[in-house]
């Protein structure tokens, strides 16, 4: 690593995240202006974006090659009051909470109190959402049956394809103008609406071009003052680059990275979409520039690497927008989930691994940053060398890269009805979510707490935690004469809550479509320009909504335990079991031990338990898959938790699998923590019984101690384990390579382990930044000591 990169990295890693009200003030200023109330909403949003980009402070950090920040310095974090206006109490919590704090100074609090809160109270979309939801929805939300993704962040999952590397924003503008010219005001009732949306896109494109020019001007001024000749040359180059992109298509490697970065900033300044923004298949997009640069002598491999490193630091400089309340609990991290894809296949299906794929892995290894996240796509055509190189980095133990099955991703996308080229050009973003990059809006709408639904079923519609009746009366289980009766009650209950969730989603989706269009993002996603429709209103070629199932392992083991102990072995009656759960196993420790140790569990490749996992999967799938959304697309399922299994666990009482009240649920598709006792091959066989093809992503965590991977055979074995899981159509696997002793020591002496990064869910985070429950949970995830 060169000195200037080392410095920039250090600056990025050591800077403390803090809240800047600048964006909130500028947006508010614009909303209060006279013109804001005279224009259509899309144009208003575009003008607000323009106002922000014209007036925000900009910076070029010392030694930087790729320039531009969302805030005005590394780790300065913007807020989005039009989505969720933080209260003074929220700001207090952010400032003082032990984990992932964001510093808030007095001046910020003052402007919130005097200006921002009075303006946005009741106007922020969060306030509007809560005011429009039904009592049933509110009851389920408060009970922790599901969460709502869009109450604090905008619809996201915006991974990009290769179109921006072939076109500048001026070219996109030409497309927009052509689309306007083609509008048929005679026959198309929506022509006016489309025209306003398209005009907004034009304004947004110009705004970002101007933003880049401001950086060119700043670089020019800095170059004039610069005494160091080498740095002056860099600043002159930055001036040139920022003059060229994003207005025009990039011509070289440097321009391509800066081009993407400006566009990235545009997206995350316009709104705060979930999962930031993702360049997608970076090794594919950049390869033509890399190849050309090496061929004509304008680029060396070392320079390419340094530019990539500089690019990596830019991601790390942007902490996730601060979340509060339940949303903070479901995703407690600074990480904003940009997931760089490498490997996979090309549009024609041939292996896509190239020299740059390896170079990017070198950068991942050397930079060791939590942001951006990185992954490798492994198809059956991927050379072993690439997989083994990835495993070499995995074994260092900072949780990156995660490993995805390209063939599976393609099957998933095809099943959803996508074109084969779009599927092959796709990948995974966020944690593990499958998408047709650059052409799809695939929105995660909230987590769904399956064990909570079972708990409500066992209590005949009552939430035992609050005593409120929030579910259906599906019958008192003590009166059920068969397991099938219970399972049918669970099915009905689950469908009941899914319906409530979807009814809510259908309102929320319209609120975003009508009140918070994103004209800038819409420029970038096919076919928004052609349709004259916003990304948030169904403009994308594909429009998918997800409801993410959580606690599959816990639900499976719970239903298995009932079948086994109540109906098969008759160790207890249902009535007795319900009593035992009610008292949280108090005085029944012996029975709890039987549940934990002498009852079949998911994750051991035993059909007794695994059959119930499959049955639950079918219930969840049938309840959701194929239901229409309001954007012309459909609902799909995926199975991932981020960190919500901790929060969901807190609201679920004792479960029949022996889990005590309040403990975390199982995460992703992984078995219950500690329930898998037959090693990773059995876990893989059990998990492969899920029909991954009918999901949009599943998450499997595996933890290994460093010793296990110490030598070449260890690498081969892990590579073979991955290949086998993928042969069985598994979707994703990620690894923590650490010993639990080390983690326990890190709990005791956090100061010694500041740099310890662990894999949490679809991302890595600093272990010492995690809450103690989450820390304990990671320690508990069965530590695999042998293959």
């Amino acid at each position: 690593m060169r000195e200037r990169i080392r410095k920039l990295r250090k600056q990025s890693v050591t800077a403390k995240p803090y809240i800047s009200p600048e964006r909130a003030i500028l947006i508010t200023e614009f909303y209060e202006s006279e013109i804001a109330n005279r224009v259509s909403i899309p144009v208003k949003r575009a003008l607000a974006f323009k106002h922000l980009l014209e007036n925000k402070k900009i910076c070029i950090n010392d030694g930087e090659l790729i320039v531009g920040e969302r805030g005005s310095a590394p780790k300065e974090t913007s807020t989005y009051p039009e989505i969720c206006c933080h209260t003074l109490e929220d700001l207090g919590v952010l400032n003082t909470r032990k984990k992932t704090p964001y510093a808030v100074n007095e001046a910020t609090k003052k402007v919130y109190k005097e200006k921002l809160i009075p303006f946005w109270n009741g106007r922020a979309i969060r306030d509007i959402i809560f005011s429009k939801m039904s009592d049933k929805w509110k009851a389920a939300y408060e009970a922790g049956v599901f969460t709502e993704f869009l109450e604090q962040r905008a619809p996201g999952h915006t991974a990009l394809d290769d179109k921006i590397y072939k076109k500048g924003l001026l070219d996109f503008k030409k497309d927009v103008i052509r689309s306007i010219q083609n509008l048929d005001f005679l026959k198309d009732a929506d022509a006016y609406k489309k025209k306003e949306e398209l005009r907004a896109m034009e304004i947004a494109a110009d705004a970002l071009i101007h933003f880049a020019e401001r950086h060119a001007d700043l670089a020019r001024r800095l170059a004039k003052k610069e005494s160091n000749i080498k740095r002056r040359r860099d600043l002159e180059k930055i001036t040139d680059v920022c003059t060229r992109v994003p207005a025009h298509a990039p011509r070289g490697f440097w321009e391509a990275l800066q081009h993407y970065w400006f566009i990235h900033l545009g997206v995350i300044m316009e709104l705060n979409p979930w999962d930031a923004f993702n360049p997608g298949r970076l090794d594919q997009h950049l390869y033509p520039f890399y190849e050309k640069g090496l061929a004509d002598g304008t680029l060396t491999k070392e320079e390419a690497k340094e530019l990539l490193q500089a690019f990596w630091i830019k991601f790390n400089n942007q902490p996730a927008p601060p979340k509060v309340g339940v949303t903070a609990e479901e995703s407690a991290t600074y990480t904003d989930f940009a997931l760089i894809n490498t490997g996979g296949v090309k549009a024609d299906g041939v292996d896509a691994v190239n020299e740059l794929s390896y170079l990017i892995l070198d950068v991942v290894e050397e930079m060791r940053l939590t942001q951006p996240s990185s992954m490798v796509q492994i198809s059956k055509k991927t050379p072993d060398r690439f997989l083994k190189r990835a495993v070499e980095i995995i074994r260092i133990g900072f949780g990156q890269p995660s490993v995805f099955n390209t063939d599976e991703i393609i099957q998933e996308l095809l099943r959803q009805g996508k074109l084969v080229e779009d599927a092959r050009n796709g990948g995974a973003s966020g944690c593990v979510e499958t998408g047709a990059f650059g052409k799809e809006s695939y929105i995660l709408t909230g987590y769904f707490n399956m064990p909570k639904v079972l708990e409500i079923t066992l209590n005949n519609g009552l939430d035992p935690r609050t005593g409120k009746k929030i579910g259906l009366e599906t019958g008192d289980p003590a009166g059920f004469s068969s397991f099938d009766e219970l399972f049918e009650a669970f099915r009905k209950q689950l469908n009941y809550f899914v319906d409530i969730k979807i009814k809510g989603n259908n309102i929320i989706e319209r609120l975003y479509a009508e009140r918070l269009p994103v004209p800038f993002l819409s420029l970038l996603i096919a076919d928004c320009i052609a349709k004259g429709k916003d990304y948030n209103d169904g403009g994308a070629r594909y429009n998918t909504d997800y409801i993410q199932g959580v606690g599959l392992g816990t639900t499976t083991d719970s239903l298995t335990a009932i079948k086994y102990n109540v109906f098969d072995k008759r160790h207890v009656t249902m009535k007795e079991l319900l009593e035992i759960l009610k008292v949280d196993f108090n005085r029944y420790e012996n029975f709890r031990q039987r549940l934990l140790n002498k009852t079949p569990k998911y994750g051991n490749d035993e059909d007794y338990a695994d059959q119930f996992m499959k049955a639950i999967f079918e219930v969840y799938f049938d309840a959701i898959d194929g239901r229409p959304n309001t954007k012309g697309g459909h609902y799909r399922i995926n199975l991932l938790p981020t960190t919500v299994h901790i929060y969901f666990g807190k609201v679920v009482g004792a479960t029949p699998d022996g889990r005590k009240a309040g403990e975390p649920l199982s995460e992703g598709v992984s078995p219950v923590q500690g329930a898998d006792r037959k090693g990773p091959t059995a876990v893989i066989k059990s998990v492969a019984k899920i029909d991954h093809v009918r999901t949009g992503g599943t998450l499997l965590n595996q933890k290994f101690t460093p010793q296990l991977l110490a030598d070449e055979t260890g690498i081969d074995k892990l590579a073979q384990l991955i290949r086998t899981f993928f042969k069985l159509d598994g979707h994703h696997m990620q690894f923590n390579v650490i010993s639990s002793d080390m983690l326990r020591d890190a709990q005791k002496h956090p100061e010694r382990y500041r740099n310890l990064i662990v894999r949490v869910a679809g991302y890595s985070d600093y272990f010492v930044d995690l809450g103690v429950d989450l820390q304990n949970e990671i320690i508990k995830r069965t530590e695999q000591t042998t293959f």
Partner: protein, 210 residues
């Protein structure tokens, strides 16, 4: 029965059929890794009929088989299973018969004789050689071992297994005294030097993989 699993029973009775079901569950992994089943122990040759039955089933199902043995058995037993075993993992602890008796309680004569016969019969063999400092890692023993191995056909490789102390806990749990308490694992330097000495005899040597 203890519900909490606080008492652990090390092992359980299983039929040939039950074991085969477990083996079949991992078939897809063997196919990917070109691996298979290893019968080890204890000493698998102590249960010759059961072992023979399992090996026969595995062969019919085209699953690769390995038998990990100390070689202390009647040669007839080895001869009977030989054609169903794809690979023998065969221990040589020391060439010094006096030491062998002292530490294992048995002579190494038959073990070495069996190994010679087995090798000459055409079976594929990997030798495991534990490196136990002060007991079998002296130059003389290493040289004699290497000489012997290099005189045999069909030896694929020698795996050096550096002594480790992971067994101490197990002995404690069993309430047995751990007699090698004073011995420390060999240094990497020492392991490397044993490796080089053996390689000088034209033997392929790996470390670990036991």
């Amino acid at each position: 029965m203890c519900p909490s699993d606080a008492l652990s029973i090390a092992g359980k009775q299983m039929s040939v059929k039950e074991i085969l079901e477990e083996i079949e569950k991992d078939r897809t992994f063997y196919e990917e890794s070109r691996g298979g089943v290893t019968f080890s122990g204890g000493e698998p040759l102590m249960q010759p009929d059961f072992l023979n039955a399992l090996l026969k089933e595995c062969k019919e199902r085209a699953i690769h088989t390995a038998v990990n043995t100390c070689g202390f058995a009647q040669y007839e037993i080895i001869d009977r299973i030989r054609d169903k075993v794809d690979l023998f993992l065969y221990d040589i602890k020391t060439m010094d018969n006096r030491k062998h008796r002292k530490y294992t309680g048995a002579s190494n004569e038959q073990i070495l004789k069996n190994l010679k016969k087995l090798a000459e019969s055409g079976s594929s063999i990997v030798i495991s050689f534990p490196i136990i400092p002060g007991i079998n890692d002296d130059d003389k023993n290493v040289t004699r071992t290497a000489e012997f191995i290099s005189s045999l056909p069909n030896i694929q490789q020698v795996n050096l297994l550096p002594y480790h102390r992971a067994g101490i806990e197990k002995y404690k749990n069993l309430g047995k005294p751990y007699k090698l308490d004073k011995i420390q694992p060999p240094s990497n330097q020492r392991v490397k030097s044993v490796k080089e000495k053996m390689e000088a005899f034209g033997i392929r040597v790996g470390i670990g993989g036991g």
